[in-house]
């Protein structure tokens, strides 16, 4: 109990350094580099999770889950003790790797008095630690595509690991810390390996609306994607979460806006306020995604009449795929809605013969009202 208290206190103190921006810190005792976190790191407790690492050296290990006072996860870390080997020579790598709740890389720290070294055991310089941190933060780094054995050119004289007086393959050089190719590769693969999935599973098990909303508020696009993809795990979605998700439709990030539109559940259409909120995005969404907003509205069982009338009023200003999507959105209501039908029919007088042709064809396909 005393040990657990001390451990928690240590972690809390560590995070009191603050992690609101990317920073690195080196002192006599610790070297630590952290990126902005998904959630504020107000650590109150630590939970230990036994994991299968899938790694040969440590098949079983502990994943430390850092928690708030409410017991909500805020980050994770692992104490890595592994060997970096090549050409039958090995060096011990001791480092604590940290992940955000979404599995995104958070940072690394070295145990007290530990340092990373390059060829001939030359310690990393400040900028090399920073470079390593930047590489580890890049989930798409091409380093992930290189096999361990392909990191150095073939048929060169074997030398010591990382020690890497041995030349690094030219293709790899730009993605690694020079002289520390195997350390970079090993750490990157640890960050993006099985542990990341373990982190995600552990967070998923703790999801609740408030927690999900906090992740949706993250500054980081990856975190927001992550949360969007897990909305379906909540039995009920409160209005605050719906508002947040719908606000993404007008985000300047095309991918985020498109993803938000894609994952919006069909049953939100039963919520009049959510319907209205989505329709309002039509004026702020990126032009290329306007048809997608219409298509999503089309999936709703029944649209508010005010929205239908609004769409019909704006038909004369629409062209191409937006007009097509708007017509499809109105289609099923036309037999029962003469007022809207009249506005569609008025487009037969449009000065663009292509649109007139489109409208004629569309009207021919409308089922007659029995």
């Amino acid at each position: 109990m005393v040990i657990r208290f001390l451990e928690t206190t240590f972690i809390v103190l560590l995070f009191l350094y603050g992690t609101t921006s990317t920073f690195g810190q080196r002192s006599q005792e610790t070297t630590r580099y952290f990126a902005p976190p998904t959630l504020p790191q107000n650590v109150s407790d630590v939970n230990k999770i036994l994991i299968d690492t899938g790694e040969a050296s440590t098949p079983k290990d502990t994943l430390f889950q850092l928690l708030t006072a409410r017991g909500t996860p805020i980050s994770y870390y692992r104490k890595i003790n592994t060997e970096v080997c090549f050409d039958e020579s090995c060096r011990l790598l001791r480092v604590n790797l940290y992940w955000n709740v979404t599995g995104r890389y958070l940072g690394f720290e070295l145990p007290p008095a530990e340092f990373l070294s390059k060829a001939e055991h030359e310690p990393f310089h400040e900028q090399e630690y920073q470079q390593l941190h930047t590489i580890l933060a890049d989930s798409l780094s091409p380093i992930g595509d290189f096999d361990y054995q392909k990191l150095v050119p073939e048929n060169t004289t074997p030398e010591r690991v990382d020690g890497v007086t041995r030349p690094t393959s030219k293709d790899v050089l730009q993605y690694v810390v020079k002289g520390a190719v195997f350390t970079t590769h090993t750490m990157w693969n640890l960050v993006y390996g099985q542990t990341r999935k373990d982190v995600e599973h552990a967070t998923e098990a703790a999801l609740n609306p408030r927690f999900l909303l906090d992740i949706l508020k993250s500054h980081d696009a990856w975190d927001r994607y992550w949360a969007l993809d897990r909305m379906h795990m909540l039995p009920d979605v409160p209005p605050q979460v719906k508002d947040r998700v719908i606000s993404f439709v007008c985000d300047s990030s095309y991918n985020l806006a498109l993803h938000a539109l894609t994952v919006l559940p069909k049953d939100w259409g039963e919520d009049s306020a959510a319907q209205q909120a989505l329709w309002l995005t039509f004026d702020c969404v990126l032009p290329a995604l306007k048809p997608k907003v219409m298509e999503k509205l089309s999936t709703y069982e029944k649209l508010n009449r005010s929205i239908l009338l609004d769409i019909a009023d704006r038909l004369p200003t629409m062209y191409g795929p937006v007009l097509n999507a708007a017509l499809q959105c109105l289609r099923k209501y036309l037999p029962e809605e003469p007022e809207i039908l009249q506005r569609v029919t008025a487009l037969l007088d449009h000065n663009n013969p292509y649109i007139v042709k489109q409208i004629k064809k569309f009207l021919q396909e409308i089922p007659a009202n029995d």
């Binding site: 798409l140 091409p142 073939e154 048929n155 730009q174 696009a221 300047s252 990030s253 095309y254 991918n255 985020l256 498109l258 990126l286 032009p287 290329a288 306007k290 048809p291 200003t317 062209y319 191409g320 795929p321 937006v322 000065n351 663009n352 013969p353 292509y354 649109i355 042709k357």
Partner: protein, 452 residues
């Protein structure tokens, strides 16, 4: 009477002797006569490639009678026939810079193939290909053809212009095709040939470098495992074959890259030129001969004896031929500084990407920089009712090495057509349309206009 009757009988007999006996269902067809036809249209687009398709759809959707003439059998040009089905970059620095009809088609093809778009919010760094959208080429060809038909565009495959002369307030374009000779009278002419062929036929000057960028025949190979290859030996053998002259230096700069990528965009065919049947025939024959030669050689090496060609495009894709002598030439400086002109009609974003005998080392734009295309660079100096879109845009060679990429050509295609549409409606020439009208029309159709 008897004599007349006898002559008639003789005639009947002789006809019977020359007429073949027809089997049931057969019809005797006389010698084919070239079908001559005269058509009129508001807008004529020459070239159904990357830019031409977008131009034709824009013109059709704006309500103009539109004809699209394509000398091949399929739309899409470099993207489809050329096999370069990764059409460049539509997003820069986290924002979309090229949208509109081109992006609409890309999106549709991506969705139909269950493909996933790259994450455009993550900077691509020096790996600009991270933001490339990979398309299913044949699927894209079908999507764009469907869009053209839906927009009311009259498609004429297997035709090429042979004469273009001023005609009333526009042009008379003579085309020839399979069994056809057609005179198309149009008000506005859009040259999307990629080689400025129509501009040249209309009597305007072109620009060309002494040495142009090489072309590439796209293909896929298989039948080997990279893990099993002794790459050092393969490289040594390959280089020795080049030194002996068995393989041509520069055609495949990096044998490892050829094998690792299993073909794709790895070959360089010097001086490839798609402008005429003759020059394009040479480019195609050179491309195929290069591949065959290399294939035969590689199959002699350990681990590659089972190497096979899995797929090959029908033609060598071409990077650079002629550019127009336009009202304004976009310079390298304009491009890399991201200059926005008063008459900018679309954006272009790509590294300066000049391929030569040494390969290519893309030069990336500085953060935040996005180049743009002024309307004047699409209009041949001294012309009326004539505009271009695509890689023939008026520009210097370095700027052109980035402007030529497909996404930029799509943006230009839509802009050129919108200018032609307005010129047709307002009885003007494209250079005279106002930017406010042009911006409004383009934005109505989803395009992104600098400063719009």
């Amino acid at each position: 009477m008897k004599r007349r009757s006898a002559i008639a009988t003789l005639g009947a007999i002789s006809l019977g002797l020359t007429t073949p006996r027809l089997l049931k269902g057969e019809v005797l067809q006389g010698p084919r006569i070239i079908k001559k036809e005269m058509l009129t249209t508001d807008i004529l687009v020459i070239g159904g490639g990357t830019a031409g398709v977008i131009a034709a759809v824009q013109a059709g959707r704006a309500g103009k009678k539109t004809i699209l003439v394509e000398n091949g059998s399929m739309l899409g040009g470099t993207t489809t026939t050329g096999g370069v089905a990764f059409p460049g970059i539509f997003f820069a620095w986290g924002k979309q810079v090229i949208g509109g009809i081109g992006w609409e088609m890309i999106q549709e093809a991506v969705a139909l193939n269950d493909d996933k778009l790259p994450d455009f919010s993550t900077p691509h760094g020096r790996q600009h290909w991270r933001h490339q959208v990979r398309l299913n080429g044949p699927l894209y060809a079908m999507v764009i053809e469907d869009k053209c038909v839906e927009a009311g565009v009259s498609l004429r495959f297997y035709e090429t212009p042979v004469a273009i002369v001023p005609h009333k307030n526009g042009w008379k374009v003579t085309t020839i095709g399979k069994g056809t000779q057609t005179e198309i009278v149009c008000n506005q002419l859009i040259d999307c040939t990629g080689n400025a062929l129509a501009v040249s036929l209309a009597g305007f000057n072109l620009l060309r470098e002494k040495e142009t960028q090489p072309g590439t025949l796209m293909f896929r190979i298989g039948g080997y495992s990279m893990d099993q290859l002794d790459m050092k030996r393969i490289k040594d053998e390959f280089n020795a074959a080049v030194d002996r002259g068995d393989l041509i230096k520069g055609e495949f700069l990096n044998v490892e890259s050829l094998l690792r990528n299993a073909g794709d965009n790895v070959q360089h065919i010097a001086s490839a030129d798609a402008t005429t049947s003759v020059s394009h025939s040479i480019a195609n024959i050179s491309g195929r001969a290069s591949l065959l030669r290399t294939l035969k050689f590689l199959r002699t090496l350990p681990g590659l004896t089972g190497l096979k060609v899995l797929d090959m495009q029908n033609e060598t894709a071409v990077r650079e031929t002629y550019r127009i002598d336009s009202i304004y030439q976009i310079t390298h400086e304009d491009y890399v500084t991201g200059r926005v002109f008063e008459d900018s009609v679309s954006y272009s974003y790509y590294p300066i990407d000049l391929h030569d005998e040494q390969g290519v080392i893309p030069k990336h734009l500085e953060e935040g920089r996005v180049a743009s295309v002024p309307l004047r660079s699409l209009i041949p100096k001294g012309s009326r009712n004539l505009i271009v879109a695509g890689r023939s845009v008026g520009s210097d060679r370095l700027a052109n090495s980035a402007l030529r990429v497909q996404a930029s050509c799509m943006g230009m295609g839509q802009a050129a057509a919108a200018a032609a549409v307005l010129a047709n409606t307002q009885g003007k020439t494209p250079a005279e349309v106002t930017m406010s009208d042009l911006t409004e029309l383009l934005m109505q159709h989803g395009a992104i206009v600098p400063g719009g």
